[in-house]
Symmetry: C2
């Protein structure tokens, strides 16, 4: 499926016009990629009502030509920093007396440098911080091209889970499990992992972010696997917790409490529901089980070109879900010194509920 | 080797005192890790002349206790964003009427939020942008603990190159080469790769940043391998370009021009020499060969907890190298539509020259 970047830029221009801005400087790389397809590590996009121009440096001459396919998007190989070149170009456009920039992704020092690159008369007034993120707001709602890719990405994650299950056994190191997952991911065509793979076993499973260590998997205990791949720029994210040996009653109860909380969270997802209500749906199950304290993070987050993007699914968040958002639902319980359990799906918000993108089983898997 | 974080904090405090600042907010994660050992993804450090306090969130309770070992560094699990909590704590310390922050790693929006979290009377005056990066300046010169780790990291990279050589053959996809490298890296104990592995073969080698694609390796042509691992938080970085089949005279000439330029760059490295002179030493060789235009990037960069850090080794850079810096020397030539060659070592600057950390051969390797 060919991505229609001009449609995205058109939608952005309508937002720009509404904000009364004749120009926009885009420097956050996932935003640049979303708007023009360029995936290099140095880029800035300058957008006016008439033109779009992407700036990168000499390392990317070939790649920029390959990736930026729309004839309406100009590419310029800059000899200064891409953002500086883009800012200067914007300021030189006739009728462009001001431009927005994203204060969330522009450092204090970068803004100073950008201003210093402008003619003196423009330094004070030219750049306006966007009152709300414009491109990130567009990216919140995935278009059809994105949903196709994200479904594929999530299914690749599920396949990896299927692949790793028969490999998990006591004595194998956590990093060896991670290595297997990542190797297989590459062979399946993933561009890379979307974050550092978490393999946390035994008492380490009580660390919500326990990156794979050299600790061998125990004979008895949980193994939490939280991993994601990058496919065509888009991230997948899923977590399953399996058990080596027979779980104790306490482990089993905790597992099913998380399982129930996770399903309640997914069941609460629907266009128009607030993120806080989804969080509460999951959290209230754990509270009822006396595990409220053990659930020490929020319920989920948006996913897309970035592994963590808007919206946040946390307590008391008022923002409402909208159809086309892709979010994770990932409650967990963590009992330091004992064990932890987390279960996570990626779902697309629909008009009437949620489409689960990660259909791997959530039943308690015991491995021997 | 146990890392002496208090020594690093002591050196930082001397810089703070010289800058006339009673407090410092550190939010850049590699800086936080350098100063206290914590490696989680959410953290801020507040430093005054008397106290150091690290803020993170509830996901990291266990990990923070494990990693922050000095009893002189307090750990606080914050219920707000770590940086906000750290800013508020700083502002509440007696005698701390101002604090520095790093304008290179603080977004415009973040600074606004931090100020809004302070009592109204402090909002305008409390935070001062550091005139020069303090922690990054410390990190420029690697201490003995760091050099031990970085030597290990670089040698792990060389081992990977040895491992991959007999595997490279026509028809294997670039991503399969990357997968093998990354799998082996994990099994060797790497925490991950320090950047997206570059495997660029045939005409793709003309892309300085050609991430591994699904293209099969050709029967005839260059394969550029640029990769690095993370070991105990530290990055390695090396590039070798090998040839499948017998190189043409043009390929051979380009290879040896880059080889000579790279050796000239390394030979120019020494404490007291300017970065610009090192760049020129490499660049002048390629200029003499008529390849100046084909060398479209700078000669190298610092490496450490980040894959790209200060100093930059580029044309006309005036800053002088100092003993203990670790930098890459990586000239290349790129002939779009034809081929590219890059050779890169990681070296430590010494009082009298350079210690090469990546001693893998740079002779032209032909594989059949």
């Amino acid at each position: 499926m060919r991505v229609d970047h001009l449609r995205r830029i058109g939608a952005l221009r309508r937002k720009l016009t509404r904000a009364g801005l004749p120009g926009l400087l885009v420097t956050h790389l996932p935003d640049v990629r979303y708007l023009c397809g360029f995936s290099g590590s140095s880029a800035a996009l300058a957008i006016t009502r008439r033109s779009v121009r992407m700036f990168t440096d000499g390392r990317y001459t070939t790649q920029a030509t390959e990736e930026v396919q729309s004839p309406r998007i100009d590419v310029e190989i800059a000899t200064t920093a891409a953002a500086t070149a883009a800012a200067q170009w914007l300021a030189a456009q006739p009728g462009v007396g001001a431009a927005g920039f994203d204060p969330n992704h522009t450092s204090v020092a970068e803004l100073t440098r950008l201003k210093e690159g402008l003619p003196a008369r423009l330094r004070k007034s030219f750049f306006t911080p966007l009152p709300a993120p414009l491109v990130e707001t567009l990216r919140l709602i995935k278009d059809d091209e994105e949903l196709v890719i994200m479904r594929q990405a999530a299914l690749m994650g599920c396949k990896l889970f299927d692949h790793i299950l028969p490999i998990i056994r006591p004595g194998l190191k956590e990093v060896e499990v991670a290595a297997e997952l990542e190797y297989k991911a590459r062979l399946m065509g993933a561009e890379g992992m979307s974050f550092e793979t978490i393999v946390a076993s035994g008492s380490r499973s009580a660390m919500p972010h326990g990156n794979a260590s050299t600790q061998p998997l125990p004979r008895q205990g949980f193994v939490t696997l939280d991993f994601g791949i990058i496919h065509k720029g888009y991230c997948s994210d899923m977590t399953r917790t399996v058990h080596l040996g027979t779980p104790t009653a306490r482990e089993r109860n905790a597992y099913y409490a998380v399982f129930e909380a996770q399903e309640a969270g997914v069941a609460a997802v629907s266009s128009g529901v607030s993120s806080g209500d989804v969080d509460e749906a999951a959290r209230s199950v754990l509270r009822r089980e006396g595990l409220a304290e053990a659930f020490s993070h929020s319920t989920g987050h948006g996913v897309g070109l970035e592994i963590h993007e808007a919206p946040r699914i946390g307590a008391k968040q008022k923002a409402r879900l909208q159809a086309g958002m892709v979010v994770t639902i990932e409650p967990g319980v963590y009992l330091p010194g004992e064990f932890g359990v987390r279960i996570e799906d990626m779902v697309t918000v629909t008009r009437t509920g949620a489409e689960i993108l990660t259909p791997a089983t959530k039943a308690l898997i015991e491995l021997y």
